[in-house]
């Protein structure tokens, strides 16, 4: 896809897959093209979902776009609800189930990050993670405590 900007920066040197071409509609201009990112798997947590995989997502995040870019989409959701309930809600955006490969009900599945309207960010936990991530031993203790034990 074309991107405004970038030409004249070190992206041209560092990212050879980014191409600079002349704009076909204005040939005296140079414009950068970047290849799409196609994740093999996207893991997405929804505010709610229906059994067919249709998701209610946070309208301030990029999850709907990420799902549409990815080969496989594994979704978790705070709750599984009926279709009428999902479509009645005011906030959030709906991603149709055609984009979703698999779905699991997992309340709290986004912790320690935010699920807008459901649960706040756990800032203390994120600070603990950041502090633990500075060295391997501290990070192993973090994983032992919160993931493995």
């Amino acid at each position: 896809m074309p991107v405004r900007g970038h030409v004249g920066s070190d992206y041209e040197r560092l990212r050879p897959e980014f191409r600079v071409i002349s704009n076909p509609w204005a040939p005296t201009e140079r414009v950068m093209l970047v290849p799409p990112i196609v994740p093999d798997v996207a893991l997405i947590h929804a505010i709610a979902a229906t059994r067919d995989g249709t998701l209610l997502l946070d309208h301030m995040e990029d999850d709907a776009l990420l799902a549409q870019a990815s080969r496989t989409v594994v979704a978790s959701a705070e709750r599984i609800v009926a279709s009428e309930e999902l479509r009645r809600t005011g906030d959030g955006v709906i991603l149709e189930g055609i984009h979703v490969t698999a779905l699991v009900e997992a309340p709290g599945g986004a912790r320690p990050t935010l699920v807008r309207g459901v649960s706040p960010i756990d800032a203390d936990q994120i600070r603990e993670y950041v502090a633990a991530a500075v060295d391997d031993a501290a990070f192993k203790r973090y994983l032992d405590r919160y993931v493995y034990d």
Binding site: G5, H6, S9, Y11, L14, M60
Partner: protein, 233 residues
């Protein structure tokens, strides 16, 4: 810094504030609450100032169509030519220092009409003669579409204006109590001075009151720690 930034916000314009930009958010809101009530204010992920439903893509598309008049960027390194480094210092494969990454900064330095660069640390490791890696260049060849670019650089010591004619960053004003000697010592290049360089005006008492009340409350919605610590008298 917030009151200096507020002066760059013009009424009626579209002003956008990106990620990790609490000081520009304060300056923009201060302006909006005083001389720029008809500005369209966009603050990323702020519940009251984020008029998009399509995630960051909708915002970036909006910016790429040239619809933003004023935007704010920062840099791990900033040089005298207005180049910004948000990527790394050293070898690409084994960098000595790693910054957060460019995200949209190589587009958002081109498409908004004016970009104010801000940095809360003014030191020789930030303000360098030449950035190690150019994420966002101060200037570009003529065959690249670039309706906008750097306008001012605001730090705790001074305000630079950007001279597109080749001089790059030029000191427009020193903040009260900052000497040319101190600025030179804390900058990694010899600063050039505007002929009319003076002293940055102090914030008015009205501005300080607003910053400590309405502005603080509004930024607390997305920067709770900043709001709790940055406004101490």
């Amino acid at each position: 810094m917030a009151s200096v930034i507020a002066r760059e916000v013009r009424d009626g314009e579209t002003v956008a504030v990106g990620t990790l930009a609490a000081i520009p958010a304060c300056g923009t809101l201060l302006a909006h609450f005083t001389h720029a009530p008809r500005a369209t204010v966009i603050i990323i992920n702020h519940p009251d100032y984020w008029p998009f439903r399509g995630g960051s893509k909708e915002f970036y598309d909006f910016a790429q169509r040239g619809k933003i008049d004023l935007f704010f960027l920062s840099g791990g390194e900033i040089d005298r030519r207005g180049n910004l480094n948000l990527m790394f210092v050293g070898d690409h494969e084994r960098p000595r220092v790693r910054f957060p990454g460019g995200a949209g900064a190589a587009m958002l330095y081109y498409m908004p009409r004016r970009v104010v660069v801000f940095r809360a640390e003014h030191s020789p490791r930030i303000f360098v003669e030449r950035v190690d890696t150019v994420t966002s260049p101060g200037s570009t060849p003529l065959d690249v579409v670039r309706p906008g670019g750097p306008w001012k650089v605001v730090t705790p010591l001074c305000v630079f204006r950007y001279d597109p004619g080749g001089a790059g960053l030029v000191v427009e004003s020193l903040h009260p109590g900052v000497s040319r000697e101190e600025l030179g010592r804390r900058t990694g290049f010899a600063p050039a001075y505007d002929g009319a360089a003076g002293v940055t005006p102090e914030p008015t008492s009205e501005a300080l009151d607003l910053l400590r009340t309405r502005v603080k409350d509004a930024v607390a919605r997305i920067y709770p720690r900043f709001a709790a610590t940055a406004f101490a008298r």
